[in-house]
């Protein structure tokens, strides 16, 4: 093994300099690739997503408490106790030290204990099932149905429904009820926060609030068949007055065109799998539509019992 004892290629100075160089290249390269792109999760536009953004940043910073010492010790110990460094202390039989071990059982326990408190509190704070209302107790109800491969949004209070077009007023919480007539899907608007699964015969709850007007992307995040990737939808957060105008105008024009949505039309026009659907609007004719869609999968209705 005489070959090993030669002038070291890696001196501390070289290591540090090349590390800095690599870091610069990485940062610069990353900047090139993200500059001008939308970082939806780190650039939130809603009440829930903003809290989640800080939760993400906070825990990431907290994790440095672990990462930095580990990396530093790895680097230092590897350098100092390299086999070729005969000057370093060598204690081949040292195999425990209660104080040290107590420290590194203790430190992670403290970190995790702190994080557990955060977890408990934020699990309640950000619970998707928690209903949000604005100061004057208002909220908008939207019923969502995941279909193959499109989204149906029903606005029961306004008597309209839309495919792949979700509009919501800025500053007023929207309470979603989410179901499906498709393989398990997931409803998610990254800019506004929190995704939840959409499942047949079940209704999931989610409350979100847009704080800024704008157009955002909504997504399906759970694979549900061939058209999965194309299941995006447009989310428009608009001022309240504009939202009211839109709901009224839609209702009016749809009833003028005779485009009504009831369970029969739903089964006829929407259940069939289709991809890349353009936005379509309806006047809601049956305000129990959402319930009926869910009930299709419920045994008591299927067996005909109870009626």
């Amino acid at each position: 093994m005489a070959k090993l004892i030669k002038k070291p290629l890696l001196t501390p100075l070289r290591v540090i300099l090349s590390s800095i160089l690599i870091l610069i290249i990485l940062v610069w390269g990353t900047w090139l690739l993200i500059d001008g792109r939308d970082m939806d999760i780190l650039d939130p536009k809603g009440l829930i997503a903003s809290q989640q953004q800080w939760l993400i940043i906070g825990t990431a910073l907290l994790s440095l408490v672990v990462i930095l010492p580990v990396y530093t010790m790895l680097g230092m110990f590897a350098w100092k106790y390299r086999a070729t460094n005969a000057k370093a202390k060598y204690t081949p039989n040292a195999d425990n030290n209660h104080l040290l071990e107590a420290i590194w059982w203790g430190i992670p326990i403290i970190i995790i204990a702190a994080l557990s408190v955060v977890t408990y509190v934020t699990s309640h704070q950000l619970d998707p099932q928690k209903r949000l209302y604005d100061d004057s107790g208002r909220s908008v109800n939207v019923q969502v149905v995941a279909l193959q491969w499109k989204w149906l949004f029903i606005y029961p209070d306004y008597g309209i429904a839309a495919v792949n077009d979700l509009r919501m007023p800025v500053g007023i919480p929207v309470n979603f009820e989410i179901s499906a007539e498709a393989p398990m899907s997931a409803f998610w608007i990254p800019r506004l926060g929190s995704q939840v699964y959409a499942m047949n015969g079940m209704s999931s709850s989610l409350s979100l609030q847009a704080d800024e007007a704008g157009e955002y992307i909504g997504r399906n995040s759970n694979i549900n068949g061939e058209g999965y990737s194309l299941m995006d939808f447009k989310v428009s957060a608009v001022p309240e007055a504009q939202f009211d105008t839109w709901t009224k105008a839609t209702k009016k024009s749809m009833s003028a065109e005779g485009r009504y949505l009831d369970f029969a039309t739903y089964k006829k026009e929407l259940v069939k799998p289709s991809k890349d659907n353009p936005a379509v609007y309806y006047q809601l004719k049956d305000d129990k539509l959402y319930k009926k869609i869910m009930q299709q999968f419920m045994p008591e209705h299927q067996y005909g019992g109870g009626h």
Partner: protein
């Protein structure tokens, strides 16, 4: 007569699959032709396929897993090529349907037929040696386990050639997508049966290894003197024994839904898909610990040996392993916080998940302090370890982030999640296996792997890994969900996907170096030859001659201390005057191969609804099991003289 099988249903549906089948078929034909030409079939059958020697079974596991790794990587390359280049082209060769098959196959193969296979291979090779045993507790059962694994692997690959499709439902096949209504083809059935068959093999292995460890340790080796890798095997196999039955039952219920049209997991008629999601993760989460714990064990051995120091905090390490093992049963729900479990339920599972970070963190610090005041040699196993610390720490941290339900709601099922689990599985499991490969290779071959090529492979993997998965974290923050075969080009994601693709190419370069390394090392084996203890090892596997003889130890060692071989070496009184005695070893037998073949037939027949053939398969399996149980003349004897001559030869050549 042939159930649902016909020319129309059997042929590959698309050109890419057909190409894969043709290439795979030609490769197989070439191997068969070469074997026939060199008249190697008898040799293969007598020395390998029918062998009950755990070392040979271990090597077969690893060989199969290595081949499957290549297939899994080819799948990964297709996924990356699609996302980086073809995603927004009108005439992409990869359709959405094919893309979904490929990622389902990629996950399934990498977990079941690569990671699991390598783990079982390494355990077979190392664990009996470490506890000073000559064999495992049930040698034939061990072979059967391997052949069930092989049969599952074969079914998985046959899906391309016969039926032409694999599942499109992801590696865990959530219903209702995996149900009959949404996936009527044979793909999901192939998925079910390849896992079912290999899963039963895994369960049997778990039982076998646990019994081996608990009953066959050498005299004096109390539990707290066991080598740490063996402890990691205990922790991992306990999980296997508890959770694989869950998988078996879950898959059975899903296949009943699909074949007999029952309603366990359908979304109507009283079925409940959420139950499947719970069950599959009740198996699935412990499964990832089944994979990572033995890797932790390997790292513990490597660090101690290459730093020339006792493992720091052995007792802590054991407690940490067992704590992780137990805790891993209490976290499955974190895979579906977004299913609406409620705040308290989510908080409970989130906190339990984070608690696992504590023993894991302790392990990392203990490894680092094994380096402290040691003599660190930077051979490839050590490099893999250091690469592991660098990558796995990030994976652990992002895991803790994902464990906070409030964060998970935003990054679940995004590429952030994908980056996280590749971070722990590649950085942890894969690097661990590579460390073990470089570390133990000379023990079984008598020569080292070429160091330069090994280092080249390491650096390619490490750099490739960072480039392949770093961008995915960023894409996750941009709102990119997983499993996308296309995306809106105006989002500007393509650059990051291209970098990820380049990362994969660099990883593939690393794999290329590994293939070359193996070939080159075999070619130069004379120059790379080493003695039985090349690393100045500490545990009993280094006490045997090299290559390890079939019986492992000519005279069984007695153990007084934790690092039993280290202790032997310190006592300089090498009492070389040994008296040999006759050794009994299991005879070779074809039962393992036959049981594997019969299981393959059962799986294949049920997939295609060929009921008479399924009955034949079941009958054959039952008869084979009864026959093998009645097999009495199952041992051969090596006389004391034969043992002596083998030992003299093996020790002599290195003296």
């Amino acid at each position: 007569m042939l159930g649902k099988l016909s020319w129309e249903t059997a042929l590959p549906q698309d050109i890419v699959t057909l190409g894969g089948v043709i290439m795979g078929g030609l490769g197989l034909l070439a191997v068969i032709a070469a074997m026939t030409y060199y008249k190697k079939w008898g040799w293969l059958w007598r020395h390998w396929l029918t062998s009950l020697d755990p070392k040979k079974i271990g090597i077969m596991y690893i060989a199969v897993s290595a081949l499957m790794l290549l297939r899994g990587l080819a799948d990964a390359a297709m996924l990356r090529a699609q996302q980086a280049v073809f995603a927004n082209m009108a005439d992409s060769p990869v359709s959405a349907d094919l893309f979904q098959q490929v990622f389902s196959a990629h996950g399934t193969i990498m977990i079941f037929f690569v990671a699991m296979g390598i783990i079982f291979g390494v355990i077979n090779l190392i664990m009996p040696l470490q506890i000073g045993a000559r064999d495992v507790a049930f040698p034939l059962l061990n072979a059967i386990s391997f052949w069930l694994f092989f049969a599952g692997m074969a079914l998985m690959n046959v899906s391309l050639a016969i039926g032409g499709e694999f599942s499109t439902a992801g590696w865990l096949a959530y219903p209702p997508l995996s149900g009959l209504e949404y996936s009527p083809g044979p793909g999901v059935d192939y998925w079910i049966w390849s896992l079912q068959v290999s899963g039963i093999g895994s369960l049997l292995s778990g039982v076998n290894f646990l019994v081996t460890i608990f009953t066959m340790r050498r005299k004096g080796m109390t539990l707290m003197k066991m080598p740490i890798f063996t402890w990691s095997v205990v922790a991992s196999m306990l999980l296997v024994v508890f959770v694989f039955p869950i998988l078996t039952v879950t898959l059975t219920l899903l296949s009943l839904d699909r074949t007999l049209e029952t309603h366990f997991f359908t979304s109507d008629m009283g079925g409940n898909p959420m139950m499947y999601v719970n069950l599959i993760w009740a198996w699935g989460h412990p499964e990832v610990y089944i994979l990572i714990l033995p890797a932790f064990g390997i790292f513990s051995e490597v660090v101690a040996a290459l730093c020339g120091k006792r493992l720091f905090g052995y007792v802590s390490m054991v407690w940490a392993l067992m704590a992780i093992s137990v805790l891993s049963f209490t976290v499955w729900l974190h895979h579906f916080f977004t299913m609406g479990g409620g705040a308290n339920v989510n908080a409970f599972f989130g906190i339990m998940t984070m608690i696992i970070a504590i023993p894991t963190g302790v392990k990392v610090f203990n490894w680092l302090f094994t380096m402290y005041r040691g003599r660190v040699r930077f051979d490839t196993p050590m490099l893999w370890f250091m690469g592991f610390v660098v990558t796995f720490t990030i994976g652990g941290v992002t895991g803790v982030m994902l464990a906070v339900p409030g964060i998970d709601f935003q990054v679940h099922n995004t590429l952030f999640l994908v980056a996280h689990f590749h971070n722990v599985i590649i950085g942890g499991v894969v690097f661990g296996m590579f460390a073990g490969y470089a570390y133990w290779f000379p023990k079984f071959t008598g020569f080292r792997l070429h160091e330069g090529l090994g280092k080249a492979a390491f650096w390619s993997w490490l750099i490739g890994f960072v480039l392949a998965f770093g961008p995915l974290y960023i894409l996750g923050f941009m709102g990119a969900v997983r499993r996308l075969d296309s995306y809106d080009p105006s989002l500007g994601w393509q650059g990051l996907f291209i970098v990820a693709g380049i990362g994969l190419l660099i990883i593939l370069l690393g794999v290329f170096f590994q293939v070359v390394q193996l070939a080159y090392s075999i070619w130069k084996r004379k120059e790379l030859a080493v003695g039985p203890d090349p690393w100045n090892g500490r545990t009993l596997e280094w006490a045997t001659p090299t290559p390890v003889p079939e019986y492992n130890f000519a005279t069984l060692p007695t153990v007084h201390e934790r690092d039993a071989f280290w202790e032997q070496k310190q006592e300089k009184d090498k009492a070389k005057k040994l008296s040999y005695e006759a050794i009994h070893l299991p005879k070779n037998t074809g039962y393992g191969v036959y049981v594997g073949a019969a299981s393959f037939v059962i799986g294949f027949a049920v997939i295609w609804h060929i009921w008479w053939l399924a009955l034949v398969g079941v009958a054959a399996t039952v008869i084979l099991v009864i026959m093998s149980s009645l097999w009495e003349d199952s041992e051969k004897e090596l006389s004391a003289k034969e043992v002596e001559s083998i030992e003299t030869k093996l020790w002599g050549q290195k003296a």
